[in-house]
């Protein structure tokens, strides 16, 4: 079956611009997670959703970052006024529920802020 998909695969933007990154989880998975991975580092937790609501957003670095999941399926990570330090691979993962241990990751979106 289809795995987690993320679009775009690559995004290049200029400092100060607004970007949206999309995640399509595995069908039926109620839990959805966003991570950010810098070169040579492990994924860093940003936020997770159980259904439509954000169950834990403690990893969002500041108020320029926002994520939504209005219908409990697709999620969008939104970054305002991008900075060069936002450049990273943004990974999305899903699982059948937040109490299900394994997370299924998408291929990521590589964001480059010039």
């Amino acid at each position: 079956g289809a795995g987690v998909s993320q679009t775009p695969s690559n995004k290049v933007t200029e400092k100060g611009k607004y970007v949206e990154l999309r995640c399509d989880p595995i069908s039926g998975h109620t839990a959805l997670y966003w991570y950010r991975q810098s070169l040579g580092q492990g994924p860093e937790f940003l936020i997770y959703f159980q259904g439509t609501g954000a169950a834990d957003d403690s990893g969002l670095p500041n108020d320029r970052f926002f994520a939504v999941r209005p219908e409990g399926s697709v999620s969008t990570l939104k970054i305002q006024r991008t900075e060069r330090g936002d450049s990273a691979v943004y990974l999305c993962a899903s699982s059948p529920s937040s109490s299900y241990n394994e997370q299924f990751f998408g291929p990521g979106t590589r964001l480059t802020v010039l």
Partner: protein, 113 residues
């Protein structure tokens, strides 16, 4: 502060030998620990999970141990193959932050024929 540490140096190993990776953590109360594999340009793929009350888990050529006294997990790949070459990440879920995976930086393994 909380830390999850993995060997930053790549592990170079000959085909057929056992690769052993280390994951140490501080200031966590882990509910469970997971190991993931990550290939370049791809997302992590789940391999194994071990709970805080378990000592050892096995899956095919993989073995994980968990010592909550030492605050350490060991990950073994036996009879290693070139196809095992990848970065291996350990990740914790704490008892106070259910569902939130916290990752180490990963250790690259290179298996040469």
């Amino acid at each position: 502060s909380q830390k999850i540490e993995q060997n930053s140096e790549a592990l170079n190993i000959q085909e057929g030998k056992t690769a052993t990776l280390t994951c140490n953590y501080t200031n966590y109360s882990p509910a469970y620990l997971q190991w993931y594999r990550q290939d370049p340009g791809r997302g992590p793929v789940f391999l194994l999970l071990i709970r805080e009350n378990e000592k050892e888990k096995r899956k095919e050529r993989l073995k994980v141990t968990f010592d909550t006294t030492l605050k350490q997990s060991l990950f073994h790949i036996t009879a290693s193959q070139p196809a095992d070459s990848a970065t291996y990440l350990c990740a914790l879920v704490s008892t106070d932050s259910w569902g939130k995976l916290q990752f180490g930086a990963g250790t690259q393994v290179v298996v040469t024929p």
